[in-house]
Amino acid sequence: MIQKFTYLYAFGYMLLFPWIVTSQSEDSIQLLTKELQFEAGNAIVLEFSNSNKDLHGLYISNSYGSIVIIPIVEDGMLQYHMPELISNKSGQVTWKLLNTDQPISGAFNIYPKQDVATLETYLGPPSIEAGGADYTMLVVVPTDSLDNPLKEGTSVLAKHQFLSSEKTDTITTQNLIAYKNIYSGTETGRILIASESLGSHSKEYDVNVMAAIPTDFSISADRHHAYADGNQITTFSTSIIKDRYDNVVSDGTFVEFFITNKQGNILKTSGTTIKGIATAKMIHPDHEAQWQIKAIIAGMAESPMISLAYKQVISNIDVSFSENNRFISVGPLQSFMKQMIPDGLQVNVLVRKNGNHIKTLSKSAYEGYATFELKTDIFPQGTYEISIIAAGINKTFKERKVW
């Protein structure tokens, strides 16, 4: 049923529009339109003389695709009115008259309107480094109101402002685009960029100029006292870190502090810069120590080494045994002014028997004391060697009988 309908339809079409299917002899069909250049957006009509009244289809191909149109007969001439999708787009347009004895074909050019409707602007990268070597690139595609890129050699003003300088450069389009490299200066800040072409202006674009890589810097330590109390905090800070053009490095630059103690162990702390200064903190040691501190911005810059000494606060540990020597009380643990040491100082009790380590008991000092109990189920009656270790001091009771 559908097929039957298609045949009928095709047959009807052939009756109505015979030029599509029949090729007839014609000798006098000629292009009358002499114009070969058209502006986009203007109506384009191709006229052909036609002595024998055949209506030929016209094949047209432009930048994006191909279509077939049919003519209007006006005063014995065939007039082909280009649809807007052809007449609005710039570029070469080729055409061919269909079903003619001799091939009749040609081409014309549609040039873009010389007014700018939009300045398509592409800017990147969005942040660059100070120092004059790095740059951002401004790419402008001036297009007319029909979305055609303007013709080659259209001039575009590329403008940029940075601190007190304002500059305008004239660039011209080539291969549909115009571009300009905008270099950083030695200072950080924000470059504002805009463009203009044929009286049309773009919107404002900006690019951040960031500091270049940091240069070497110095560090300092700040603490409330020099005692190794295991409680107070020492704060390390860098000097204001700058690049080689004296620009303060970007906030958030990561600085690592490496602390090496007498035993060669390394402690690490880190911080990020705010206004060029990075700070990091470390708790005081709980025993006498000598620290060597160096800060590094990985792969870029470092500081010289500084050293810090921490003084011992506890000179002696008082230990008392009671309850069959099973109860050990350590303390009072006193700090540099004879004040009770702040809570949290670690106290360890090592229990050995016949030279073999049996158990380590560990507690934090509370209100100046730490107490331990040697439980009967772990430590049966006998003689033990008991060492008390706190604040770097080791006090050993060689043979202590426990019952």
Binding site: Y59, L98, N99
Partner: protein
């Protein structure tokens, strides 16, 4: 009795319990796995690669020397890939007048231009079947942030076939140059602007004028055991070498070989097969034989959008052999006129024209021909071919007359018969058929016509075959059995009476 029934009842109960539990467990697990589908992270990111060759026009980049940032090879390949896909999607869109896929390859503004054309063509019932065969892109500009590229695509060769109401209005090959702005959006290089700035007329490569007086005395060759599958696993150079010796000693100088399209790996030609083909030509060279290579055997798809795949195939085969001293000529396709009815004459002809141009551009030295199935077809495309060849299985009585007429019509082109022969089969399927004697008489007669009129010839074929693939003559036994007995040597290796007339009266 009661106890037995109870046991049966019990076991039934237990069995049904097990079945129900199994079903429930299966159901739960099916729901669970259904809910888990799509959760696969690799699927979520579309990272799996599903690339098939669908569009391979010849792309020749000019060396990168662009303004702006230097482009690395990987990025250039990405740009090329997406740019070609944009063309492919466009061809598909105009062929079907649908807008599918265009969004991926054209930016928001650019796609409007395509949509306008699709809308108009759809309303007018115009269909444009097209493909591009060659691209010569130059990278003009690459932006510092790597988001914008400008290329000039010079001399794009584009074939178009325009239909209106399912009637072909036009077939045209155009050469145009484009300037294209591409933007990197969502990981795709999309076309933002495209301007055709130059059009030229397409020029086919010239017909060779130096091909005169080919005194071809030859035979179509397949090994006895592997007809129509010469380059498969049973490829044996000793057998082929021996056969070539027989052919040469029989006084023949030429052979005709067939390269199956799909058997050789379609668009991406199998290196091993190509090596075997080269080995065959090397053997031919040793035995002082010249080879006519017939391309696209067993291939019958002339769809415009697949042309680029066919052309990459032909290009690889032709460029691999074009400097071989045993090469005589290229036969584009065996008997393509037989496809006119089923595939449409215009489809086949346009394909052939384009393929002739490609082979001639790849190898400008060797003559190009098409082995037409009969002498009447030889007028087709005769101005594009260097050598007119046809196959002759008709009555030998009229050959002389037909040949002289053809010779008269095309005085400036060499003409050759590249297949002729007669089966010696008679049997269940053809009781009043041929015989070896009749076959011998036929060949004797043919040779006398050839020598009298100086006709170059190639006979079909050296051996009787035991197996004929169904693709050759179909499944009908009377056809298959006839096809098995065209040889000069029978399946046991014994020379038939006709062998005496393989190269002389």
């Amino acid at each position: 009795m009661v106890g037995l029934n109870k046991n049966i009842l019990r076991s039934l109960l237990i069995l049904s319990y097990i079945i129900i539990i199994t079903l429930v467990v299966y159901g739960i697990s099916a729901i669970y796995s259904y809910l888990n589908t799509g959760a696969d992270r690799s699927k979520m990111l579309h990272t799996e690669i599903k690339k098939i060759d669908q569009y391979l026009p010849k792309v020749q980049w000019t060396p990168l020397n662009n303004e702006g940032r230097p482009m690395d090879i990987q990025t250039r390949l990405d740009v090329e890939n997406d740019y070609l896909d944009a063309w492919y999607i466009k061809h598909l869109a105009y062929k079907t007048n649908s807008k599918q896929g265009i969004d991926d390859y054209y930016t928001e503004h650019a796609r409007e231009n395509l949509f306008d054309i699709i809308d108009l063509n759809a309303s007018e019932n115009t269909i444009v079947e097209s493909t591009t065969l060659k691209h010569h892109p130059t990278l003009e500009f690459f932006s510092e942030d790597g988001q914008l590229a400008v290329i000039t695509d010079n001399n794009v060769v584009e074939f178009k076939r325009v239909y209106k109401d399912n009637i072909i209005l036009l077939e045209t090959t155009e050469v145009a140059s484009y300037k294209v702005i591409l933007l990197l959006e969502d990981g795709f290089w999309r076309i933002r602007h495209m301007v055709k700035f130059k059009v030229e007329t397409y020029k086919s490569p010239p017909v060779l004028t130096s091909v005169k007086n080919l005194s071809i005395k030859g035979i179509n060759y397949y090994p006895q055991a592997t007809p129509w599958n010469m380059f498969g696993d049973d490829f044996d150079t000793d057998i082929i070498s021996n056969d070539f010796k027989i052919i040469r000693e029989a006084g023949l100088h030429h052979i005709r070989l067939f390269v199956p399209y799909e058997g050789f790996g379609s668009a991406n030609v199998n290196k091993d097969k190509l090596k075997k083909l080269r080995q065959v030509l090397d053997l031919a060279s040793i035995h002082d034989l010249k080879v006519m290579v017939t391309l696209f055997d067993f291939y019958g798809d002339y769809t415009v959008l697949n042309w680029t795949l066919n052309q990459r195939h032909a290009e690889m085969v032709v460029s691999a052999l074009k400097d071989h001293d045993a090469l005589l000529a290229w036969d584009i396709k065996n008997e393509p006129d037989l496809d006119f009815k089923s595939r449409g004459a215009h489809n086949v002809m346009a394909w052939l024209k384009s393929m002739i141009d490609l082979v001639k551009t790849t190898d400008p030295k060797h003559p190009v021909t098409i082995g037409w199935s009969n002498i009447q077809s030889t007028s087709i495309l005769k101005d594009k071919l260097d050598l007119i060849t046809f196959h002759y299985y008709d009555d030998h009585e009229v050959l002389e007359k037909d040949y002289l007429l053809l010779k008269d019509k095309t005085p400036n082109k060499p003409i050759a018969i590249t297949e002729y022969g007669m089966s010696s089969y008679s049997g269940t399927w053809n009781l009043f058929g041929s015989s070896e004697k009749k076959q011998a008489e036929y060949h004797k007669k043919m040779q006398s016509i050839f020598s009298k009129n100086d006709i170059p010839y190639m006979s079909w074929t050296l051996y009787d075959f035991t197996e004929i693939p169904k693709e050759v003559v179909g499944r009908l036994p009377w056809r298959k059995n006839t096809q098995k007995h065209f040889g000069f040597i029978d399946k046991d290796g014994v020379k038939k009476a006709s062998f005496s007339y393989i190269s002389k009266e």
